[in-house]
């Protein structure tokens, strides 16, 4: 049985503070965490790590960093700098076919949509665990126990077995510091360059300022009058008028309860 192939997907992005200066560009924290987890898992499973990126030759810097950190192979899928997520995923899928695990960053620093991992899982027909905030490699066995961040502060714990695509947040792991020898070798390491499977559709240039996506908010419960009180913050307005009293603790507590009831907070 051949050793499992583990893929680490990396995206070369401009630094948000210096968007026009390539000297500050590099992998996002989430991608660096993904690479670290790929390296850790490869050690657990006795597998090899292939670092993959999609883009022009300038993006190879993230691959060289990955090789310096310990990746066994580096592949650049040749394409433009900005592409649709589905096309990026299709490009990576060409390299990741047959891989036991694919590790991705949850989202990139350049306001990425975080959709590449999902497209990639679909393209590979693999399981997916997205938005992961904790990873525990089960020993022995090929599984990983991951914790996902859900809406409303909830968590989901999954036992994942490969083939799977896992996207992780940046805080999950710190990428190891490359050794000096490895760093020197990586500067001249060979990078495999493969073409995109299909012509990439370029992203249209975004000229408007960034706007966060709208959030769906549930309508408040209760009667119109209660909703009005919520929206106008009537209780706070009443409370703002306030009063200062000096009372013994039991009397003070009773006074507070009475005030809360008066403002409608304690109505059943």
């Amino acid at each position: 049985m051949s050793s499992p192939i583990i893929i680490a997907c990396l995206k070369w992005v401009a630094h948000p503070g210096e968007p026009h200066d390539e000297r500050f560009a590099g992998a996002s924290p989430a991608d660096r965490a993904a690479l670290e987890l790929a390296l850790q898992q490869a050690k657990e499973l006795g597998g090899t790590v292939t670092a993959v990126t999609v883009g022009p030759p300038a993006t190879e810097t993230v691959l060289r960093d990955a090789v310096a950190a310990g990746a066994d192979r580096a592949v650049r899928v040749d394409g433009p700098a900005a592409m649709l997520s589905s096309d990026v995923a299709a490009g990576i899928a060409g390299v990741a076919e047959g891989a036991a695990w694919v590790w991705c960053g949850d989202y990139s620093l350049d306001r990425g949509t975080g959709s590449v991992p999902a497209f990639l899982a679909a393209a590979l027909g693999a399981q997916q665990a997205l938005g992961v905030i904790d990873v525990q490699f089960a020993a022995p066995g090929p599984a990983a126990r991951v914790t996902r961040r859900l809406d409303g502060g909830r968590r989901e714990v999954l036992d994942v077995t490969g083939p799977a695509v896992v996207s992780v947040e940046g805080a999950v792991a710190d990428l190891r510091r490359a050794g000096l020898g490895a760093l020197r070798v990586a500067t001249s390491a060979s990078i495999d360059v493969v073409p995109l499977r299909s012509p990439a559709r370029r992203l249209k240039a975004v000229v408007q300022p960034y706007r966060p996506r709208a959030m769906a908010l549930a309508a408040p419960d209760g009667s119109p009058l209660e909703r009005l009180r919520l929206l106008t913050d009537a209780a706070a307005a009443t409370a703002a008028r306030g009063e200062t009293v000096t009372l013994a603790p039991p009397d003070a507590a009773a006074r507070i309860v009475a005030a809360l009831r008066g403002w409608g907070y304690l109505d059943s």
């Binding site: 000096l180 490895a182 020197r184």
Partner: protein, 433 residues
């Protein structure tokens, strides 16, 4: 057998020029930079005089990342309410081969390091050299870095790790360091539209201005500067460390005071603060220079205190580039000859001694002390400004007084003794004459 021929520590102007010359000589060179890219850790704001690059990068001006070519050079003398400016302009400095230029060092250093890489040097970034590797004999055989597996051996190490060089100190090349030999440079970068800068400083296109200021430092010995970049100004002060400490003054307040001065305020008005930074400067010249050669080790640039702070001449980058260049050449010479001892590396000292690098420092040996002395800092500016004010003031119906009389009166009023004036004049003449 060593890992490489030459390790250059520090990707500043000295380091990159050392790497260029050593790599071009066919040596296996590694250039180690602590920042994510050369220049990323820099806070420089000044004028670069790159003529030394003529032999290294022909027609360097066609590609160098210059902000503005300095065609106006002003020396300004400030008292709290007066300003006397000597202003020189030369259009010749705005055309090849140029004279000096303002530049952003992150761009300049990045550019120079690119030439080092093109010459074959391997650039390693984000790596801090934490110490020297030594043979039992004490000879330097390499460096230790903060990376795992971080030791690297070499035939020659060139330390270009900047002012307060830990490597030169570790090698025992600095006999002693004294705070009085250093100044603190503090700088603000203020953004203004190019047209506004052009109009305020009376320049056009990519021509710029260099204003050196005596006074305006809130009573702390030192000086000020104001340089024009394309769309920013670099304004700051250089303060004698010991005086700054003794007076418990805050550098940012001193800059704020300089910016409020009536002669400066209109120039910097509405500038948007983009950056505030500070750095120690080795200002004592020859007095503080370390030994620059040991077995297997050369020291160049600020690490060797090769910074010329002589009042009307404030230069550092050209000395760094030249010393780095000569260090690279000397290293190549020693490696070829197979003699890596201090004797084998002595070509470095010879090159420094035969060129402006040490000739200028020898000539101006006493200038830094003179320029930062209390008389030059506090008495003479007031005296000269008062003389100028009386010269140009019309006190009718009184007749115009003679210059000699004004000088004598103002000298006496400033409390300057004749013999001090004569002594300082003699030192100045010997230095600058």
């Amino acid at each position: 057998m060593t890992d490489v021929d030459v390790i250059v520590v520090g990707g500043g102007p000295a380091g990159s020029c050392a790497a260029i010359t050593a790599a071009r000589a066919g040596l296996d060179v590694v250039l180690i930079e602590r920042g994510p890219f050369p220049g990323s850790k820099n806070m420089y704001g000044g004028v670069v005089y790159p003529r030394i690059l003529d032999g290294l990068i022909p027609n360097w001006w066609e590609e160098a990342p210059v902000q503005r070519w300095v065609t106006r050079r002003s020396t300004m003398l400030l008292t709290p309410t007066q300003a006397l400016t000597v202003d020189f302009r030369s259009q010749a400095w705005g055309a090849p081969p140029y004279n000096g230029a303002t530049a952003y060092r992150p761009d300049w250093d990045h550019w120079l390091a690119g030439h080092a890489e093109a010459a074959g040097a391997q650039l390693i970034t984000s790596t801090v050299v934490t110490g020297l590797l030594r043979a039992p004999s004490g000879a330097v055989t390499g460096v230790r870095t903060d990376r795992p597996d971080g030791d690297l051996t070499a035939k020659v190490v060139i330390a270009c790790d900047g002012v307060n060089s830990f490597l030169a100190k570790e090698a025992g090349l600095y006999e002693h360091t004294d705070a009085k030999h250093f100044t603190l440079g503090v700088k603000e970068t203020l953004a203004l539209p190019k047209e506004v800068i052009d109009e305020r400083f009376a320049v056009r296109d990519n021509h710029g201005v260099d204003i050196e200021i005596l006074g305006g430092t809130g009573g702390v010995n030192g000086g000020g500067f104001l340089y024009t970049n394309l769309e920013t100004l670099a304004i700051g002060v250089v303060l004698k460390l010991t005086k700054l400490g003794a007076q418990k003054a805050r550098p940012e307040e001193i800059i704020a005071g300089l910016k409020r001065h009536p002669a400066i305020a209109p120039l910097v008005q509405d500038g948007e603060l983009k950056e505030y930074s500070a750095h120690v400067i080795p200002e004592a010249g020859l007095t503080m220079m370390p030994k620059m050669i040991a077995d297997g080790l050369l020291v160049a640039g600020d690490a060797a205190a090769l910074c010329l702070a002589a009042g009307i001449w404030l230069e550092g980058v050209n000395f760094a580039m030249a010393s780095g260049m000569y260090a690279g050449e000397a290293a190549a010479e020693a490696v070829r000859a197979g003699d890596l001892t201090a004797v084998g590396l002595a070509g470095y000292q010879r090159r420094l001694s035969d060129t402006f690098v040490l000739k200028d420092h020898r000539r101006l040996k006493r200038a830094p002390e003179l320029v930062l002395s209390d008389r030059v800092q506090h008495l003479y500016p007031q005296m000269i400004a008062n003389v100028a004010e009386r010269m140009f003031r019309v006190d009718n119906p009184d007749p115009k007084p003679g210059l000699r009389r004004i000088l004598a009166q103002e000298r006496k009023r400033a409390g300057v003794r004749r013999r001090d004036l004569a002594r300082d004049g003699w030192i100045g003449f010997r230095s600058f004459g």
